[in-house]
């Protein structure tokens, strides 16, 4: 690991200014569960760490208004255990408690989790010339394409990269139409979660639409469109190689609004199968105005993967993904009835 200087400012302004003053190589660090891990692997090589965890007021959870507001520094475990989140927003709570382990959820923040980097094994294990990777070394190539691609994306890949976006929480937030508040050198702005993530294209090393020195401060989830201000008819359904403590092979975040057995609106996002949190609008269209039957649910699931492009070893994700969506829809429908 490269040596780095370390500071721990107490205001967002100080943190942003420190970033601007630092030479190239500055990084913000919160829980560190991704960044410090990748520094040990010599993939991330910051020379200046700005620890943002002492910034005041950014760890609050506010569920009292017409929008749920989660301070970026709130630990994943705290948001998962919040009574309103756990009771009324199962899609959010499940995306959090089904991720990582309680130890890591105590460390990782809900803001930092949005910026978690891929678990692609060629990205993680091929540093210093072992495997090329366009994320690590732009322009070097991609060993995963045509390689051992069982875990790779079937949606949103390019000729440069097919690495899966690893998160669960960003997938749930995508289904909930969340947005993030950002502060940076140019002031404050708000970005819909859908615009935070970039497709790999020819520049897979640029994963987020954040400018250098920008810091996510708050995650906001609208609640006013939902009946009674809750999302009880929702779920985050996660399928893994083992029952717990693993990344998704396929996952589906589903938020349903149902009236008289008819789907008013279904919002569906996919994880584990795409290069970014993936909104499945084709699947949503299949359901709008329809009665939700098991047949319709699997039809919607298949629609989500109509444009999928599997490689040599990950074709199974098409069927697994479709069934994951179908199961998630039926779970959410059951919950919306109770």
């Amino acid at each position: 690991m490269r040596p780095f200087s370390y500071i721990r400012p107490t205001t967002a302004e100080e943190a942003v200014n420190a970033f601007a003053d630092a030479e190239a190589g500055a990084r913000f660090i919160a829980g560190g569960t991704t960044l410090y891990d990748l520094m040990k692997l010599n993939i991330e090589r910051p020379t200046h760490l700005i620890d943002v965890t002492a910034i005041g007021g950014l760890a609050t959870i506010d569920t009292s208004g017409d929008r749920l507001r989660f301070g970026a520094l709130a630990p994943m475990s705290a948001v998962a255990a919040d009574p309103v989140v756990a009771g009324d927003y199962p899609v959010l709570a499940e995306a959090l408690w089904k991720a990582a382990s309680q130890q890591l959820r105590n460390m990782a923040t809900v803001g930092g989790n949005l910026l978690q980097r891929t678990r692609c094994m060629y990205f993680r294990n091929g540093v210093d010339g072992v495997y090329p990777c366009n994320k690590r070394e732009p322009g070097s190539g991609c060993a995963a394409i045509g390689g051992l691609d069982r875990g790779q994306a079937v949606l949103g890949a390019s000729g440069s990269c097919n690495a899966v976006s690893p998160g669960d929480w960003p997938v749930a937030l995508t289904a909930m139409d969340a947005s993030v508040e950002i502060v940076g050198p140019a002031g404050q702005r708000r970005v819909p979660i859908a615009e935070l993530y970039r497709l790999p294209g020819d520049t897979p090393h640029i994963e987020f639409s954040l400018a250098p020195g920008e810091l996510i401060t708050v995650i906001e989830v609208p609640r006013e469109t939902l009946e009674a201000g809750t999302a009880r008819g929702s779920t985050y359904h996660k399928i893994r190689d083992r029952e717990s403590y693993a990344f998704a092979l396929a996952s589906a975040a589903v938020v349903l609004e149902i009236e008289d057995d008819q789907v008013i609106r279904a919002r569906i996002a996919l994880g584990g199968v795409a290069t970014r949190p993936w909104r499945a609008t084709e699947a949503e269209a299949v359901l709008a105005g329809q009665r939700l039957t098991p047949e319709r649910a699997i039809e919607a699931g298949r629609a989500a993967f109509r444009t999928a492009q599997p490689g040599r070893h990950n074709r199974f994700k098409l069927e697994l993904g479709a069934r994951t969506v179908a199961d998630a829809l039926l779970i959410a429908a059951e919950r919306s009835r109770s």
Binding site: Y6, R8, T33, D37, K40, L49, D51, S101, Y245
Partner: protein, 217 residues
């Protein structure tokens, strides 16, 4: 040899490099004195040399960290790259927390920071400035084992023992969090602690047992 005798025997092993037996370490709650390698006078430096290992490298970015470990105030100069795990093991001689994977994947390094369980291998030591760290060495009350330690012995919740300090620290937190309310929930909330010997059945039984004794089951 009974299990109790085995524990007695193993406790007589020397903790290499510090001249303390494991039993001494347990008894003293890991008696640590303030350690500052460059900023204090000769006497305290001399005392420190008895207790703490020196930094193995000349740090490019040294940092003075003040924190509480098992109830004792500690002051150590570290390299900014140091993890809490390396601070505990390499500098303070507290080798209970284990370095299994060093990437937050196995749970063997689990300790409590400010009352919450964390992976000490992925926690920068700089982050525990002003904080409170509790390790397996600080869990017992003198010679009286914590109910979770006793339960692990009673339920044969280990074979090789390598993952056990991490399992026990995670298990205590699991109970305190209120996540030890059923076998299913214990399994889910202990899934971050891998046991390659496969002692999981005993581990779950131990946690159920200890939870009732800790008043949270």
């Amino acid at each position: 040899m009974s299990k109790d005798e085995w524990v007695e025997e193993s406790d007589k092993g020397q903790c290499s490099g510090f001249g303390l037996t494991r039993r001494d370490t347990l008894k003293s709650g890991a008696a640590i004195v303030a350690v500052s390698l460059s900023t204090q006078g000769p006497n305290s430096a001399e005392a420190a040399a008895d207790r703490a290992a020196p930094l193995p490298v000349t740090p490019q970015y040294p940092l003075l960290v003040r924190t509480t470990v098992n109830g004792e105030m500690v002051e150590v100069e570290i390299d900014t790259r140091t993890s809490v795990l390396d601070l505990l093991r390499e500098r303070l001689g507290l080798t209970g927390a284990k370095k299994g994977c060093d990437h937050g994947q196995c749970g063997a390094c689990t300790v409590h920071v400010d009352g919450r369980r964390v992976a000490s291998c992925l926690t920068l030591a700089a982050k525990v400035e002003g904080g409170e760290v509790v390790t397996i060495e600080g869990l017992s009350d003198g010679d009286n084992l914590h109910p979770m330690q006793q339960a692990f012995i009673d339920h044969d919740a280990l074979q090789c023992g390598y993952c056990t300090p991490g399992q026990i620290m995670a298990a205590v937190a699991c109970v305190v969090e209120g996540n030890a309310t059923s076998r299913e929930r214990i399994r889910e909330y202990m899934s971050g602690n891998i046991c390659r010997c496969g002692a999981y059945a005993g581990i779950v039984a131990a946690i159920e047992d200890a939870a009732s004794k800790m008043g949270r089951g």
